[in-house]
Assembly symmetry: C2
Homo-oligomer: 521 residues x 2
């Protein structure tokens, strides 16, 4: 996963997490019907919180090698206490992977559960409380909710309470919920219906640079029939969601050249080529104002949505009006098209432009070069290599000569227009078929065991390397998030809403108990 994009789901930009306007009261998810009867007992919830607080107290930044190992060992201990056969797998130069196995007698299927136990680096000064000393509140920091103790938890589970700490949602909370589900099943005397494998990574937030070699070297260890990618938030309406894919990603920086020194725009303007003007024409030939990519052939490999995927899209609640208001948008690309329809398409985003100077430092000069930074979002069956080829072919057809390295003055002088391309890492998109046995069984299990109206997203607009896991491990992958969307993931005051945690425990329990029986050929 060395190419994993640093701004995948929910990452980096606070923007994603600021959709407070979209939250329609917090009850839209509906009541979760506990797996095969019963509901979480208060003692169970307090025990989960106690274990969670202990786990969150171990700093988990990937580069903090000593603490990340403490996390791994602690996690392996948590698994072993439940009877999961846990192993710490060393990576070459990276933090350990915690692997676990639970064999269910008679089970025909093996489910691989993926999550990461590392977290984003923190800026403690920006946090309301210490990121590594978890704090429970009877509401949000924004509401100035009082600090409370796990022992204060009311019998209803303190649904709107929040637990603050790095990793509360991303992903330690997910791990806690998955392991607690095993306890719940035991309590209810219900065995899991599938064999389980756990793959808990300690370097996801730092780019997963050491995971792929391990997956390749230990392929048989990770053999399974389906993978649950446990990361990310539920829908902004608080409805639970199942996500059957994600767009791929590919980045490109391109630079075009003018004179080899800034030239007086009076003496040389409209004779010496202006690289900023060249760039605007080049970029205009890449995409229209409305978001359609104009690079010839760009849409050739786009796999159309299946009727089932079209139908699934209808389950996505409309949020467009609220988002327009929230983001100050008087118009959106694609006219009246739904956001979720738009992100089913590939995209070309200009993430940066730079040439010469603007504002107070602007000079009447012809700049020496102009640079654009771009990220492509890919859909099945586009490939990063295919897009690279199309873009370079398009540039050649415009009279440009693509190069990969800085040119000498002599080279620039001799040859026609150069465009310097720096392709970043990338990986393809992924969409599991909604007819896939694993995908169908998972959805059926969840829908039959709760009365929540699941948002069924054929693919996330953001990028997660689901395709990479699917290819390396040769299995279907489904993303199943449990965190509240307003969890401040990656920022200060990361938190999990307890209702999301309890629902998460119940949904994992439902999956473990019910998936095997519904997972057919």
């Amino acid at each position: 996963m060395g190419n994993r994009n640093p701004m995948r789901v929910g990452r980096g930009l606070a923007a994603v997490l600021l959709l407070t306007a979209v939250v329609s009261g917090g009850a839209a998810g509906g009541r979760t019907v506990p797996a095969e009867g019963g509901r979480l007992r208060p003692e169970r919830m307090r025990a989960v919180l106690a274990e969670f607080v202990e786990f969150l107290s171990i700093p988990n930044v990937s580069s903090d090698r000593q603490n990340i190992r403490r996390n791994a060992e602690h996690l392996a201990g948590m698994m072993r206490r439940r009877g999961v056969e846990a192993r710490i797998l060393e990576t070459e130069g990276g933090p350990p992977v915690v692997f676990g196995e639970w064999k269910t007698p008679g089970a025909r299927r093996t489910l691989l559960v993926y999550a990461h136990y590392d977290g984003q680096p923190v800026d403690p000064a920006a946090w309301t409380s210490d990121p590594w000393r978890p704090v429970l509140r009877a509401g949000t920091v924004a509401e100035q909710a009082a600090v409370v103790l796990p022992g204060d938890l009311p019998a209803d589970g303190g649904n709107e309470w929040r637990l603050y700490g790095r990793g509360a949602s991303d992903d330690k909370g997910t791990i806690i919920a998955a392991l607690a589900a095993l306890d719940v099943l035991k309590e209810r005397r219900m065995p899991p219906s599938v064999n389980l494998k756990f793959l808990f990574e300690g370097e996801e937030e730092a780019g997963s640079g050491h995971l792929e070699p391990l997956l390749k070297a230990e392929a048989s260890l990770f053999e399974a029939d389906g993978m649950l990618f446990c990361d990310g938030p539920v829908h902004q309406t608080r409805r639970p969601q199942i996500v059957f894919g994600a767009r791929g990603v590919l980045s490109l920086e391109l630079t075009v050249y003018g004179p080899d020194r800034a030239l007086h725009s009076g003496h040389y303007g409209n004779w010496a080529p202006n690289p900023a003007a060249v760039l605007t024409h080049l970029l205009s030939s890449f995409r229209d104002r409305d978001g359609r990519v104009l690079v010839p052939g760009f849409y050739d490999d786009v796999r159309p949505l299946s009727p089932a995927e079209h139908e699934a899209l209808q389950s996505v609640p409309p949020v467009e009006e609220e988002l327009r208001r929230e983001f100050g948008l008087a118009w959106t690309e694609g006219g009246s098209a739904r956001l979720e329809e738009r992100v089913m398409l590939p995209a070309l985003n200009i993430r940066g432009l730079s040439s010469g100077n603007v504002g107070r430092t602007a000079q009447n000069a012809i700049p020496t070069e102009a640079t654009a930074s771009i990220d492509f979002r890919l859909v099945p069956d586009q490939s990063p290599a295919g897009v690279r080829d199309l873009v370079e072919k398009h540039l050649r057809s415009l009279g440009f000569t693509p190069v990969r390295t800085e040119l000498s003055a002599e080279e620039r002088r001799r040859a026609p227009q150069f465009v310097r391309l720096t392709w970043g890492g990338g990986y393809p998109a992924y969409r599991v078929s909604l007819d896939d046995a694993f995908a169908k069984a998972l959805l059926q299990t969840l829908e039959e065991s709760t009365d929540a109206a699941f948002v069924r997203l054929p693919a996330l607009g953001g990028s997660i390397p689901m395709a990479v896991f699917a290819r390396l491990l040769d299995l279907p992958v489904v993303l199943f998030p449990i965190a509240n969307h307003d969890n401040n993931q990656h920022g200060p005051d990361e938190n999990i809403r307890l209702k999301n945690l309890w629902d998460g425990v119940e949904m994992y329990a439902a999956i473990l108990a019910g998936l095997g029986g519904r997972w057919r050929e």
Copy 2:
């Protein structure tokens, strides 16, 4: 001249001065035939140098009010010693203007000579010698030429010697040459043929912010029949040049808006509008890659070149091949068109682009805004106001709403696409008719009194507010430079080549002696 552009002729960008490759040996100018016989005597040359060194020794940065006044008083003294009736005119809050008058009995015409005695600020650490302690060298600093003394001057005038100091070329050297011309005429017992007025400004390099009110208040004082604008360098081939106009200038900064916070490009890409993409399309509609401005009506007011101007252009030596090599250009805008033909047209230069981030700080985000900074170069009979109107009309036709101030989030949310425009100062272009009596007389005088082949430039590509003087004083204006092109104007090690100084003295003497007789109705 409050709107005077900070990058007019030869200003700011070292680029303009780096045309060493274009210099074809230094002898292309040909021998100057001294005005009506004789040549500068060595004693005269030594006296000129002595006076020059003294003048250069007074620091002349406009904001250094004490020294700038010392310059003014010193200059007035130099004028009075020659019988010029000199006055120091105070400006409101600015440095003084030195005004001088020389009445020639029987002369029918009055010539106004303009130059500036202030210089650009200096970075002494970048100079080879102290900018305010002039140093004479038997060649250039780059050649590591020996330091010499004015007394060492050989009888031939040490043509390739250079005098180093701030203002040596820009413009104290010009002032020295013009005043020395009076001495030469006296020595040769030839009276000037015109009445003379001198307008020596002390704030040109700081924008001439206080000159216009003075010109208006004292209009009758500056009344004349023609103005010699004494500034700038001769042609890069070392041939002397007369310049009959200059392009005007107008700057514009424009910003288009996306979401009011940076948005995750995966989750919102090709739904939330990308301002960088909007900007590239907007700018592409402004000009093509080849430099042609596409704003409807932009060329409507362009005054075609007259046959005489076309003919004058033929006098400009070709420098394109050398410039292409010098600047690393594999192509130029306008195909095979000559540089000098190209700068006879108006231009739109994109001097800066900025949006989001490029390079290492690039994020997979939709930027909140995108900005371009532009300078227009205008030609007669375009006006800054006319261009503003055309651009705003064009933007409206594209669906934009031009605004002048930052918008509130609420305004952005409500209305269609805004484009924020910040129009900078500007002034129109100027081209005196080559049939103008003053222009014709000046050219004839110079051509008949020297054997140099003058470069006759209908207009400079860069901008000088000749139109502003022409309008305020209601007179024809011609630019007449004497400095070597490689004078390091505005940079460290500013210098004048002595051959340019001696030719300057002779040419001024020729003008003063011969202009009146040739200047007809």
